[in-house]
């Protein structure tokens, strides 16, 4: 019994020692990390808060919620990457897929209104946004239920030959805050006069 008790006590002391070392290591690492992050005299600042630039391609739920983003509206296209060729007077069509990623349960849906206005997107001498229209004036996008919309680009009569890049413009979101908008299309082609 005595030997068992001695073994038990020794094992307990070893456990305490390991715990103490672990605490020491964690504390030191924490302190080093804190001073690397802040590099300020802690007594000078009650608190600090970092505002990072967010790359919406890599936005995750915890990061989004930390900065008040409740949902992400992603605009993509099955035509991304394929080249287009347009001539004056022609109307080009581009399918768009709108999908809502929900970061907070309160963000069930977003209303997307399509209201391109002159000057919003200009490519060289072409006022693109003045030549853009959409198949819908507005749509409601629910989380997990993508919506397809067609974007039309009316090539101006006076367009000159050029390489051309096109981006969906004029998307207005309701609610206007709490939703991040990621336009992830890639429409490149040429206009041939």
């Amino acid at each position: 019994m005595q030997r068992k008790r001695w073994v038990h006590e020794k094992s307990g002391r070893t456990g305490y020692a390991i715990t103490a070392i672990a605490l020491l290591v964690v504390s030191v690492l924490g302190a080093v990390s804190f001073y690397q992050q802040s590099n300020v005299t802690t007594s000078e600042h009650a608190t600090t808060r970092a505002i990072p630039l967010l790359n919406l391609n890599y936005l995750n739920a915890s990061q989004a919620k930390e900065y008040g983003i409740l949902g992400l509206l992603n605009v993509s296209s099955s035509s991304s990457g394929s080249s287009f060729d347009g001539s004056p007077g022609q109307t080009l069509q581009f399918p768009l897929t709108l999908s809502l990623t929900q970061f907070d349960s309160s963000m069930q849906s977003v209303i997307v209104s399509f209201k391109p206005t002159s000057g919003q997107e200009v490519v060289g001498a072409v006022d693109v946004s003045a030549q853009l229209s959409y198949s819908n004036s507005s749509v409601i996008v629910y989380s997990g239920r993508p919506v397809t919309v067609t974007m039309y680009f009316h090539v101006p009569i006076n367009a000159v030959s050029s390489d051309f890049k096109l981006v969906p413009a004029g998307l207005l979101l309701t609610p206007p805050s709490g939703i991040a908008l990621l336009i992830d299309t890639n429409f490149e082609g040429s206009l041939t006069a």
Binding site: T48, L54, G68, K165, L181
Partner: protein, 286 residues
């Protein structure tokens, strides 16, 4: 053992509470005059010497402008970021992010506006009467576009936050030095290769004309721009170790991974001056 477990939990709790939840390495420059106000802020940048292959998969490098608004009522104090992001494939995206004390007011990003070989990328954040704060990106993808001053331009929707002006220069708040206008480089992790370069130029603000002042460096753990509810807010949150200004001239700096950390408040250029930024030389654009 119970006591030790409780202590361990307490330490873990304190560490979580003390450490920033999210921080990116950042280094930038600021105009080092005493604080003043502007109605438009501008910057230019390019990644033309950057080899995107050195950017690890899933990583990226941003060249960005940060602007602190002067309003303190309603949904403000507010902060406005406009940045170009190059990823590991060489694609360049542009993003506009407007922040208020309650979180993000507005965040929009457009991918595939340019590439590592884009000639130059410029941007402006300005007050538009009757609409609010608005950002515009000017992308010169080809030399022809540059020579003709005919960029692809993208306007981010104006947000009526209450701001009509921005701070530039230095002031004090939350026992910190606040830098209202900054232009810098940010990344999720420092890309430790000497084969990336970020040019930044035309750090100008509009008062009654376009001007710049002497510029100095700032790291992301000291890049405070606003004091909100007793908390000093900074850009990125961590210093960009090993990155330094490898070239400087009036109103211009080139950042590169050199193994040397730039540090804080290092003079990058002296003197003042100003001229209309290139994109704004076309009437009605800015």
């Amino acid at each position: 053992m119970k006591g030790a477990t409780v202590l361990l939990l307490l330490v873990a709790f304190l560490l979580v509470g003390v450490l920033p939840v999210h921080a990116n390495p950042y280094v930038g420059s600021y105009l080092s005059n005493s604080q003043s106000t502007s109605t438009s802020n501008f910057f230019g940048t390019s990644f033309t010497s950057t080899s995107a292959s050195v950017i690890p998969s899933g990583d990226w490098i941003a060249s960005e402008m940060g602007n602190a608004g002067t309003a303190t009522t309603g949904s403000c104090p507010c902060f406005y970021q406009l940045g170009y992001i190059i990823d590991d494939t060489g694609n360049v995206a542009v993003t506009a992010q407007y922040w208020g004390p309650s979180g993000s007011l507005y965040s929009s990003q457009t991918n595939n506006v340019g590439s590592a070989s884009s000639i130059t990328l410029e941007g402006i954040t300005e007050y538009v009467s009757g609409s609010g704060i608005q950002s515009k990106a000017f992308v010169y993808n080809t030399l022809t576009q540059y020579n003709n001053n005919s960029p692809n331009s993208y306007t981010f929707t104006a947000q009526s936050t209450g701001d009509t002006q921005f701070y530039y220069g230095t002031s004090t708040g939350c026992s910190s030095t606040l830098l209202g206008y900054q232009v810098g480089v940010e990344s999720p992790t420092t890309v430790s290769s000497s084969s990336w370069y970020v040019w930044q130029n035309t750090m100008e603000v509009y008062t009654t004309s376009w001007i710049y002042q002497a510029g100095s460096s700032i790291e992301g753990n000291n890049s405070f721009f606003q004091c909100i509810s007793g908390s000093a807010h900074d850009i990125g949150g961590a210093q960009m170790s090993g990155v330094s200004a490898v070239y400087t001239a009036a109103n211009t700096v080139e950042w590169q991974y050199s193994g040397t950390t730039e540090g804080n408040n290092v003079a990058l250029w002296s003197g003042s001056g100003g001229s209309t930024p290139y994109a704004c030389q076309v009437s009605g654009r800015c």
